[in-house]
Symmetry: C2
Subunit: 212 residues, 2 copies
């Protein structure tokens, strides 16, 4: 009958509770819903689901399917809802962690030539545009859905918007960097006819530090 339990969960556990709080689903579906919140591989999700079920935070029912493999549909319990609620309101959210190899490559751009650098950025733009388009479809889907209550969809809706705003902003930034690179090229052409000191001044003042 104890409510406060000794087996404290990791963040992934709360992410799972969040998704399951909106609607019951299988571990497989969970994996795709978690992408937006806390990305995880199925090898991490399945064992955790079992553990959480044993701790009474979740329950599941077997669903037999024809043609497709059987599945387990997990739902959140009252205990799970409580645990989630407490975590959301009491705990301070941890610092966001961003690990992006692209940033390292940007930082090290000077090791390569302009063409490589440009390609890197253009690829980034393509990928971002793709993600934005996919998300726009998801947003449209949420907007057209007949929702029972708004509150359950609010979080997802608002987060999809956030991602698209940020990705679009990054696309703008990419274009800005491309311009900087191109302009610095023009100036390098002058290098043959001007001094190195003057070159640095021009690059710093005009190309590098002024926002075009």
């Amino acid at each position: 009958m104890k409510i406060g339990n000794e087996d404290r969960m990791n963040t992934l556990g709360y992410a799972i509770l969040s998704v399951l709080g909106r609607k019951p689903c299988s571990g497989y579906q969970l994996a795709s819903y978690l992408e937006l919140l806390w990305p995880a591989k199925h090898s991490q999700i399945y064992p955790l689901l079992s553990k959480m079920e044993q701790n009474g935070l979740l329950v599941f029912e077997h669903v037999e399917q024809t043609g497709k493999p059987d599945k387990k549909i997990y739902s959140i319990t009252e205990k799970g809802r409580e645990a989630l609620g407490t975590w959301v309101t009491t705990e301070e959210p941890g610092y966001p962690i961003i690990r992006d190899e692209f940033l390292i490559k940007m930082y090290s751009m000077w090791t390569t030539d302009e063409n490589n650098a440009k390609k890197l950025i253009q690829d980034r733009i393509s990928k971002l545009k793709l993600k934005v388009t996919l998300r726009e479809k998801k947003i449209a889907k949420v907007e057209n859905e007949q929702v029972e209550t708004v509150s359950e969809h609010f979080g997802r809706y608002v987060l999809l918007h956030r991602s698209n705003l940020l990705d679009n902003e990054e696309i703008s930034w990419c274009h800005w960097v491309l311009k900087l690179i191109e302009n610095s090229n023009v100036i390098k052409l002058l290098l043959g006819i001007i001094s190195a000191g003057a070159f640095n001044k021009i690059v710093q003042g005009v190309t590098f530090f002024s926002e075009l």
Copy 2:
């Protein structure tokens, strides 16, 4: 005399090479520079530095200090520079990984009341504003520095800008969400005098889905 070595490095290794490529520094300093690129604790950095040094990607020199503890200043070697260059140009950058507890809490906002939700968002805004201010100082510092060559500072400069653009965009998003919450409150006040069905329609149409 082999160049292609069997001990391939992880991303942190390349992040270290990137920073060290710009200027030699100690493991301690490295930790703070890495925040922008690939955050890591010193307990991960120090052993990796040793390993990379043994593999000939780095060299270090002891620097004795008075008052402060002695330190090791690491520099990148030609081999290290090559390894970095190859990685930057050949390997496709891996997908960015973002883990942010705030997003989970946003998603689960419906488990709590408006005041908790608002507080969560306002705290986020404060933290973001603080980060932006700190970064602005760093940007100013780079801009005022007497740089030898632009290229070595280009990456850092451009990344600091990126972070601030994105954080500012997120601040705007936060305000947008706050407005949505406040407006939905106003509508809830009407709930006493209108039907539940009509309520849902209003919330969906006016507050939830229209971008104010």
